[in-house]
């Protein structure tokens, strides 16, 4: 349904996305996860046909998003970051307008609008002027316009941003309900959100895809069993490569703490025998070890580690 290969977008000298690739199967919900500025909105704008890519290809329902933009537009529903609402309209007349420009025949419009209102829980707000709606309801109207013409592919840019917890839950359930019948691509910077609603998750950072996997595999793949924290004094940079070469060590971070250093060592090793090896390296190198502990990180911590730039 959605195939994206080596997508690149460069604005002047700024690289918005450098290499984005993923594919979404029919009926699947793919989460597009990354911190703000990772290139999520840019990618979605390219997919919706709003902006062209600098390089690479993207196809939706077999049509190139740039070459066959009109065909693609017929098959997608798109909720941009800011819901595109005409405030002077009532919810119902706005949806009628959208249904019209999306190509729904006059005779089918009322049914399409009623169904979208029902799905998004807006039935009792149908006659209300959009300007008078709260943020949560506006977001729902945004969602309703993305699904009113029952498109095969639905692209949602941060659909739950700015909502309260109850509304978030409702919107998540709504999106879950869209899967199967529709193919959904949804972006978010909140990890639990995508892991709860999506069949698969693509993690992007600084314009490139880090990994794509099912949420449960993602945890296995990304979660090191242990994080060791060592408080050390001395020339820690000289032992960094030695520590990294140890069996089971994935990543070593050095954070200065006053005159000392905190070493954060990520390990996928299931056992704790790495602890004694780490200690040996530190002691044998003539450095002073003040503190040592290890714990399991949360999914958020790993996500942050993956997507935060190392300086």
């Amino acid at each position: 349904m959605i195939e994206v290969e080596h997508l690149q977008k460069i604005y002047g000298s700024t690289v918005a996305i450098s290499d984005v690739h993923f594919s979404v199967a029919k009926g699947e919900i793919l989460g597009f996860l990354g911190p703000n500025g990772a290139g999520k909105t840019t990618t979605m704008r390219i997919l919706s046909g709003y902006i062209p890519a600098t390089a690479g290809t993207a196809r939706i329902v077999g049509f190139d998003v740039h070459e066959d933009s009109m065909q693609v537009r017929r098959h997608i529903g798109y909720l941009p970051e800011n819901p595109p609402l005409y405030e002077h309209m009532s919810v119902e007349s706005y949806l009628h307008f959208v249904a019209n420009i999306k190509g729904i025949a006059a005779g089918d419009r009322q049914l399409a609008v009623t169904s979208a209102l029902k799905k998004t829980g807006l039935a009792d707000k149908a006659k209300v002027i959009i300007a008078k709606l709260s943020k949560g309801y506006r977001q729902r109207v945004g969602l309703a316009q993305a699904i009113v013409h029952s498109p095969e592919v639905i692209i949602l840019d941060e659909p739950t941003v700015g909502l309260d917890p109850k509304q978030i839950l409702e919107v998540r359930n709504l999106i879950k309900g869209l899967g199967g019948e529709h193919t959904v691509l949804l972006s978010s910077h909140i990890l639990p959100e995508v892991s709860m609603t999506c069949d698969r998750v693509t993690i992007v950072n600084q314009g490139t895809v880090i990994t794509t996997d099912k949420p449960e595999n993602l945890m296995d793949q990304l979660l090191p069993v242990n994080i060791y924290k060592l408080l050390v004094e001395g020339d820690v940079y000289s032992i960094k490569s030695t520590l990294e070469s140890l069996d089971g060590v994935n990543k070593v971070d050095i954070i200065p703490v006053g005159s000392r250093f905190s070493l954060e060592i990520f390990s996928s090793d299931k056992y704790d025998h790495l602890a004694k090896d780490l200690a040996k390296v530190v002691i044998n190198s003539g450095l002073d070890l003040y503190e040592m502990n290890h714990n399991r990180p949360t999914l958020e911590e790993v996500f942050l580690k993956l997507t935060t730039q190392e300086q």
Partner: protein, 259 residues
């Protein structure tokens, strides 16, 4: 068929947004007030002048009061339109850009041409609503005219205004598509229209062949023949060119936004 359907949707949406905005009613009130005042003022002045000349016995032949009035009044009204029309067109695209709704239009299966055409039709409809009371004034005044004024002359003058207004609104729509700021669009449109209006004055200060071209492009020169009851195809063509150029430039500027 779906094309007309979409066009109607855009047209109707725009029309509603004008009619639901207090801004429209403020413009309408001012326009009707000022246009009405000048209608009375010019007509009254003319009648008094003629009466005075007649009293002094200076009037030998009949005066075509109706044509005279038409000429002075429409010249005043055109100046008023130069100020008012940019206010009608300034929000056409700048508001869509500001509110992010352009993203909805640009990702829907409709062309930029259709959106621009629908918007232009709606703002022309709004202008027509504003112009309607003035047509009624004319009917009342000219029906009492002795000798009767040729209906063709009146119709042509009104058609000239209509073409002129559509050309200005089309240019204004293009300028509105250039930024998110309606006020900026207003100021720019006003300046551009005044320049195009006075091109024939500018043309006097440059040599041929540029002066011929500038003089031809002048909105003022294109408009005046309509007042004297002459239908000149080249001036009609000039206005149509302005209208099409405005729509074309709008589609290009919206296309360029998606880079």
């Amino acid at each position: 068929m779906i094309f007309l359907n979409n066009l109607y949707a855009i047209f109707r949406k725009e029309l509603e947004s004008y009619l639901l905005s207090p801004f429209f009613y403020i413009i309408a009130a001012f326009f009707w007030l000022i246009a009405g005042f000048f209608f009375w003022f010019i007509l009254n002045n003319l009648i008094q002048n003629v009466a005075q000349i007649e009293q002094q016995g200076g009037l030998t032949a009949g005066v075509d009061l109706a044509s005279e009035f038409l000429n002075s009044y429409f010249n005043v009204i055109i100046s008023l339109l130069l100020v008012m029309l940019p206010a009608l067109s300034m929000g056409l695209y700048s508001e869509e850009r500001k509110r992010g709704t352009l993203e909805l239009l640009s990702t829907s299966p409709i062309t930029n041409w259709l959106v621009a055409l629908g918007k232009l039709l709606s703002v022309v409809a709004i202008f027509t609503i504003l112009w309607l009371p003035l047509v009624i004034y004319q009917i009342i005044a000219f029906s009492a005219s002795q000798p009767p004024i040729e209906i063709g002359v009146v119709l042509l003058a009104n058609a000239g205004v209509f073409l002129f207004a559509t050309a200005v609104l089309s240019l204004g729509m293009f300028i509105s598509s250039l930024s998110e700021h309606a006020i900026l669009a207003y100021i720019l449109t006003f300046i551009v229209v005044v320049i195009f209006w006075s091109l024939d004055i500018l043309s006097n200060s440059v040599g041929a062949p540029l002066s011929d071209l500038l003089s031809y492009l002048s909105l003022f020169k294109g408009y005046t023949p309509f007042l004297s009851g002459m239908l000149k195809t080249d001036t009609v063509f000039l206005f149509l060119s302005y209208i099409i150029a405005g729509i074309f430039l709008t589609t290009q500027s919206i296309e360029a936004l998606r880079k």
